[in-house]
Symmetry: C2
Subunit: 460 residues, 2 copies
């Protein structure tokens, strides 16, 4: 049987030469993922080097109805980068340059394959930084496509707030620009925000203008512990309500502490913790920390420990960023089923406690770690994908957590996105609005070549 890729292949090969790769090794690499989805081989991997080349590839794919899925660093957590309907994995890794640093305008123009760490290295001499920090050293294109977020969103916003402008290749090869380098605009429909979070299903991002922020004059990180998760979360709620401009405020539950001890050798008592960071002037940071400590004292906070040197802070956040692997270390299966939800902050304690109870009831080992200042938290369930019963219970857990989030007025994902795993919740979360998402997809990509089978559940 001739596949759409077979039909597109000669034209793609003449376009890309040896940058169209069909070796099993390369397909295997691009078919992997960090979570529990099975290996999913693309038909081929393409390595474009310019926007015009992306447009040419897309035009060929569109003519032959060949699926095309943008690939960054494969750190997405819901299988967003997997070619589940075959076709081309479009590896953006060679489009990884910083095109401009506009320090005066606090922005940078970058290519999508650039990683956030690489961007921050390039920015080192400028006194500026790119704030969004999902943990993984993800590509900025991928972070935009999944509307990524992370530890600093409480202060500096998510990708939604930090992508000013995009260049994208649409399904017929048209190259469009959305947004501008101005800080705001009210000129027509917000296509910029429509593309952010569209997971490569509406267009392929080929260039981005991202906001930068000034590195604060002073930074203070701290850890502290609480008698219970409820105390820790209630402290967070009051901190946010008191408008203390937290740069980071992360909940680490007792299971997650166990994971950090096992994986990173952390020296922490096995009780719920908050990991914190304050940014500002030296006096401002001290004032913020004092205010926080006063609030926290009312919730039984103990063990206040600051990290003022860069090395101490780096060690703290490196440990935090390894929560995925630390969660995996708790179980015997070596894998993690990661899931996240986001709820109104007043409902955070209820949601977290419900998740902890559900894990116990289902006999699962699950950590909870969260960007709690946003009402967003993660559960990392240790699983062995070969254990069908455990996998079924993990799925039951994620279903229950999603239902809890919706019941509490929240959303089934704060930052991981929909991809494959959360399509089943789209109708429940969006109701009649889902039809309008479908209408956009149909209008923008009538041949359904851009990351087909993602975000929108199949119609029965």
């Amino acid at each position: 049987m001739t596949t759409p890729f077979d039909a597109a292949r000669p034209e793609l090969a003449s376009l890309l030469g040896d940058r169209l790769v069909t070796t099993l090794a390369d397909r295997d690499l691009h078919g992997r993922n960090e979570t529990y989805y099975p290996l999913t081989l693309p038909d081929a991997v393409a390595y474009p080097e310019t926007t015009e080349e992306v447009a040419a590839i897309v035009r060929v794919c569109n003519a032959h109805k060949c699926p095309i899925v943008a690939y960054g660093t494969a750190t997405s957590l819901e299988g967003q980068h997997l070619c589940t309907q075959g076709g081309i994995s479009l590896d953006m890794g060679r489009m990884n340059r910083v095109l401009a640093v506009n320090a005066e305008d606090l922005n940078a123009v970058v290519q999508p394959g650039l990683t956030r760490v690489a961007l921050n290295e390039e920015l080192r001499a400028t006194g500026l930084f790119f704030s969004v920090d999902p943990g993984a050293n993800a590509s900025i294109g991928g972070m935009t496509a999944t509307r990524a977020s992370g530890t600093t969103a409480v202060r500096y916003g998510t990708m939604r707030d930090n992508v000013l402008a995009l260049e994208a290749v649409m399904a017929d090869g048209t190259i469009i620009r959305t947004g501008s380098q101005a800080r705001k605009s009210s000129t027509g429909y917000d296509l910029n925000h429509l593309l952010i979070g569209s997971e490569g299903t509406l267009g392929i991002i080929t260039e981005l203008t991202v906001r930068l922020h000034g590195i604060p004059e002073a930074t203070l990180a701290a850890t502290c512990r609480f008698p219970s998760v409820e105390d820790a979360v209630n402290c967070v709620i009051l901190t946010i309500q008191s408008a203390i401009p937290m740069a980071r405020i992360e909940l680490v539950d007792e299971q997650m502490v166990r994971g950090f001890k096992k994986y990173s050798g952390a020296d922490l008592p096995e009780v719920p913790h908050l990991f914190l960071e304050f940014h500002g002037s030296p006096a401002g940071v001290a004032e913020q920390a004092d205010l926080f400590a006063t609030i926290a004292g009312d919730f039984g906070m103990e063990g206040w420990k600051t990290a003022t040197t860069t090395e101490e802070r780096t060690a703290l956040w490196a440990m935090r960023h390894k929560s995925h692997y630390a969660s995996a270390a708790l179980g015997t299966g070596g894998h993690i089923w990661p899931t996240d939800v986001c709820v109104p902050i007043s409902k955070l304690a209820e949601a977290v406690l419900q998740a902890q109870r559900d894990a116990v009831t289902l006999g699962l080992t699950s950590t909870i770690v969260g960007h709690v200042g946003d009402g967003n938290f993660h559960a990392g369930i240790s699983v062995d994908p070969a254990n069908a019963d455990e996998m079924a219970r993990a799925e039951e857990f994620t279903n229950a957590l999603a239902k809890t989030a919706l019941r509490l007025g929240g959303t089934v994902s704060g930052e991981h996105g929909i991809g494959l795993g959360k399509q089943k919740f789209m109708q429940a979360e969006h109701g009649p609005a889902l039809a309008y998402m479908r209408a956009i997809k149909t209008a923008f990509d009538p041949n359904n070549i851009l990351n087909p089978g993602k975000i929108l559940p199949a119609l029965d």
Copy 2:
């Protein structure tokens, strides 16, 4: 000839009774605007009281292809609320309730006809406030539809950042909900941001969840003057780059000062000024003001004058908010052609100086006042709509300003929107992306009943 409204009228009358009004007085009131557009009578005015009623009205209008234009306070500046193709002016004034204040979650659920001042009055006892302040006491639905902004956006964001969730009636009467009360989400296409700024062309907003902010512990307002606009703007640029968290930073050029003197009796020398506000703790506010003064000193700042009491601050911002009328007071025609652009902040001085030169060259009296921390500024050209030559020169001025903004990497409107007046710039600003805006409009509103003739220029 039977109009679409004639066809829809019996059903609408039976639905609304005496809340469907066709008197000339009411049509006249809803056909006016604050700027230079001619009186534009709707066929009728409808006063819905519930979402379900809006849905029923829209269904009738859709069946008869009768235009329907949501009406808030008629303070939009590009004719957004005018029924240029006849049909129904949908006055949302009776849907003006606060449905919930969720103080713990820092949000409020409101109806679209509620004004921002009324919301802030309701919030008085809570210690919270709704931050977006475009000057006019606009309705929150209208502010959302035009993606309004204003003096505090530099610190608290625009409507884009402050509308968490919407309920809207779509063209076929379907009621959808976008967003949620969670602070962030990554579950599918961002319909919430698509509706924000869509000027009633994609759906009628019937309910909103808006973010609230804590009233700062301390507030300090101040005015100061500079030798030149360039000095004032360069001071702003360095202030923003230094990450001083300005709550307000407004440029007032020498002409605008003249207007304030004439209209409000302000006691200010006729040189460029900045009007400022600092929010924070008492110590934080003092620190911010000191930092600002140090920067400003390098740009020749003089006449630093603080306003610490609520009365002084209110007087200052009331004067600022009357810039529209103060601009009108400078001319003889009694009207203002208001326009705004937004540029990257590094280009702000160039854009403002070019605008001032263009006004002189064209023999126009124009003020400049701006939310310069965002790179956004307004020109208010005094015009007499009966003076065709002056109107032609005013149009030439706005055309030149729009071109300047685009040349400098900015946008033809930071906050006024497109409406009727700026459609001619849509192709130049958005290029091939405009076709994707049209595709959304066609998919969402195939009969083109929702505010037809706005935002998207007619195809030749």
